[in-house]
Symmetry: C2
Subunit: 378 residues, 2 copies
């Protein structure tokens, strides 16, 4: 078993990465915290597969548990579902020192994490990540939150878990589209500051997808990269913003699609956003066209979209996308901040990007030849 | 002008206590933070009196502002009002570095503070406290939150303001019942650990109520007491729990009254709760009956209730009160924690209080001679 330590002083914790971790969940918890009672928050899909094994693992360690099951999908990251989860935690008489277990992917992790952050002003949180995206990104680092019609993740808290389990066996049951989407975040770590990792991914992509040892290795390296950034800048005062590579464009596209999973899911937005960030960097004269092409080639090889035009139903307008971009949390005094790049592994934070140049770039992207519609099926 | 510093490292801030502070609000903000845009969150009553002066003060310092007005009263500390405030902050395009000004008493401070804590994962917060309770207690220390049917303040965040203004001139327009209720929290600081302050209050109560210099002095000493406790134990891992003297019983009574202000308001619950905590201490053989009587005498002289029986409409049952007490955030492994006392200024944290002894005590209180109904008018 591989363990990555996230060093945050008294808020430090471990991320365990290995196959078949869930049967020992209770034992791992008991070794690290006062664990008597827990609420398992999950969605219907993940619950069907893993609620029983998790319940059993807790029971083996003499931890009482209750369950809170929400609908799958981004729509559960809402005020109304948050209220429901919080009130169920209270109704079950869970105390401040009891544990909320977020069992699922990014949606469940963000929602249950936020609920744990605000219930009794902060309970204990354990993330049991069952999607690739959650394992390499959202379960680590303490960002929790919900969406509102104004935008994605605009409401939330920084709230670190006490333990994260990335049980790689759960990826065997993950729908291929979800795996591909999570892979966008894996590739992101290479693109930010690790050209070697990106080259390694170019060589080992097939093995990562087929579930060989390379898969565990890719996850471990991704988690270690994220842990390093979070330890340096927990609350995103500076360098942590690099992790948003592809996210400003990606979030705007998700919002413009009303978070409709039949059109786009988060990792797909990130893939398109990363490709756009590199093309925008070329457009700004910061980066060689070959770099942007290499990024597109790798994402496309992984089955990921790289252009807005490949989103089913497309038909976005520049002004609506600019409107969503203006809601980005990184906006300061009306100035836009983007993560741009000078080359593979050379991303940087560009503050004070002129809205006009973004607008011109987006208009150009929208006017481009329609790309073939994205396969969202499997 | 008197300034009390709350020492919390990088989260430190000042509490300014003086008459006529509001006209200089913008200037005080500009001296301490990057202040360009702000949202003023207030209630209809306070807004009628102080929205215009606050707007003017901000404009004088070239700070743009928008307003969010909620209904007065505890009912606004709800999920639905929280959602409304958060969404109005987002719709107004306030950024992470912009400022939420909580203009009002405890309800507005708790609600707007919580909204600031979770919007864009944390904006800047300034508390402009216009009630005695907010000035001496709720605006200082970073506890924010809302209520749910399960109980009071069970949902929220620790989130420190960047600046607190206690403009004592605003107390001249405060309804007398609200002033009395706030006074319960002033007396609390004497009862916790400052017998001298309690004696001083016994001698100067009339002057505090009539608005002479003693009023400012009482507020300053209260804020200083709170600042000391918060600096030692920001997140209530230990001694901060002392500030809950009277609150476990008080919250249970408020919940049992459905937060109906025609029956009870927070400070009245605290007054009854503090009297009960001292009588319970006597009941447990911890404290002399004379101490409890002295506490009751002082609170009654201030026009505050000291018995559950004086709540209009009374008719509580022991089991319903025990049920609310079990929801207290201090409960750990089912054991009750109360703040009890050995004498004036000798409060202490009693963990592991047997539920049975609390039950017997409450049953005895309920069986006692009905007290005259509390005057809630004015």
């Amino acid at each position: 078993m591989s363990s990555v330590h996230v060093e945050l002083g008294e808020r430090s914790y471990d991320v365990l990465v290995a196959a078949n971790l869930i049967p020992n969940l209770g034992r791992h918890m008991a070794a690290r915290m006062d664990a008597r009672r827990a609420a398992i928050v999950t969605d219907e899909n993940v619950g069907r597969l893993y609620l029983e094994p998790v319940r059993q693992a807790l029971s083996d360690a003499e931890i009482d548990s209750v369950e809170i099951v929400v609908a799958p999908g981004e729509a559960s990251k809402s005020f109304s579902t948050l209220e429901r989860v919080v009130r169920e935690l209270l109704a079950a008489r869970l105390e401040r020192s009891d544990i909320v277990i977020a069992l699922g992917g990014g949606v469940v992790g963000d929602l249950a994490g936020f609920a744990a952050a605000i219930t009794r002003r902060g309970m204990s949180l354990v993330q049991v990540a069952t999607s690739l995206l959650a394992q390499v990104d959202s379960s680590v680092g303490g960002k929790t939150g919900i969406n509102t019609p104004e935008g994605k993740n605009l409401v939330g808290a920084f709230f670190q878990p006490r333990l994260v389990l990335a049980d790689t066996s759960t990826l065997d049951t993950l729908p291929p589209r979800e795996f591909r989407a999570g892979y966008a975040e894996v590739a992101k770590y290479g693109l930010i500051d690790d050209a070697d990792f990106f080259s390694w991914l170019e060589e080992n992509r097939a093995a990562v997808f087929s579930g060989e040892d390379a898969r565990g290795e890719a996850i471990r390296r991704s988690v270690a990269a994220k842990a390093r950034v979070v330890a340096t800048d927990e609350r995103e005062a500076g360098t942590r913003a690099l992790l948003n590579l592809g996210h400003t464009f990606g979030h705007a596209l998700e919002a413009a699609c009303n978070y409709d999973a039949s059109r786009i899911i988060h990792g797909e937005g990130v893939a398109i956003g990363m490709a756009m960030a590199h093309r925008f960097s070329v457009h700004q004269g910061l980066c060689a066209p070959e770099t942007a092409e290499r990024v597109e080639r790798h994402l496309a090889a992984a089955g990921l979209p790289t252009h807005m035009n490949s989103i089913p139903g497309r038909g976005f307008s520049t002004s609506e996308l600019m409107d969503h971009i203006a809601q980005d949390k990184k906006v300061k005094a009306g100035r836009l901040t983007f993560i741009l790049s000078r080359g593979i592994g050379e991303a940087f934070i560009a503050e004070d990007v002129a809205p006009h140049s973004v607008e011109t770039f987006i208009a150009g992207e929208l006017a481009a030849e329609p790309a073939p519609a994205l396969q969202t099926g499997e």
